[in-house]
Amino acid sequence: MTDTDWPDGIYAALKAAGIGQMSFVPDAGHARLIDRLTADPGVVCNVLTTEEEGVAISVGAWLGGQKSVLLVQSSGVGNCINMLSLPMIGRFPFMMLVTMRGEWGEFNPWQVPMGQAVRPTLEAMGLTVLRVETAEDVVETVAMAARMAFDADQQIAVLIGQRLIGRKKW
């Protein structure tokens, strides 16, 4: 994978994992992946008003026999915390892909507090947190996260570092 086509690799990994639903609050770092998934008639996509909605949708999808993935920005992780009780207590397969802000070259101080709190808050809720920094690692990490989630009933967050996404152009 190169620095520009890794979202296509994630798309292919999600399809190979059998993802049937995706929900998202938009983030520039996820824009290409959102485009790929929403253009796919084999994936039901939901735009959310707040990220916790997607946690509940993922649980409903699994109850009904579909695999779901949640795409959010780091700021949205904070909106999910109590709703994560649901996949944790029900041992539901759960996977979220988090594009990071508030770290590498961040220009907006308002992104920093939640960005820095993403890993500790997710781990406090009991999720397994994987993190990628390079285009070489991102696709395999998503594929392995999907295996852990859907084959081993785990609750997984993959953090995609801001260094990989690139500084926000302003």
Binding site: L48, A56, I57, V59, L63, G64, S68, S85, G90, R91
Partner: protein, 195 residues
Amino acid sequence: MVEQVLKRREAVAALLARRDGWLVVTGLGSPTYDVNAAGDEAGNFYLWGAMGGAALVGLGLAQAQQGRQVVVITGDGEQLMAMGSFATIAASGVTNLTLVVLDNQHFGETGMQLSHTGRGVDLVGVALACGWAGAQEVRTMAKVAEAAAMIGPGATGPRLFVLRIAAEPLARSLPSRDAVAVKNRFRAHLGLGGL
């Protein structure tokens, strides 16, 4: 004139008596007890927490099981925590999802504090403004039966029924709190394997 309201257990039992392959998701607190009191079923998934999640669990389920009717039964307080779900569910275009809000205008589990619906907030109006295919208030048992009869194929979008119920203290009717067991039973009911 005394405002006409329903008895919650009687209304939920009457609604579910018309159940025809429906998958049912309940919001935490009294709606979970009401549905259990009407009869524990493998096609029920009960929430004991995750406030604000019931309607959206229903959405994910409805999207995964498009040949079945999904009925979410929750309270006004739980649904008020999911105001955004009215927009998300409308935008989804889902047609096999019905939301039933048992509205006693109070937070019944926590000391009967007056809720937003008791202060004039109109959930029917919210749903209609968001573009739901139908939304109506239900105040009589005859209308409960009519609502149940409307749950089936052919809807053009999601539907809301707000059942105006009395704020009455009732004995709890407790289903399993083991979400893993309830999940596995639910999935087995749908013929789904796996863990």
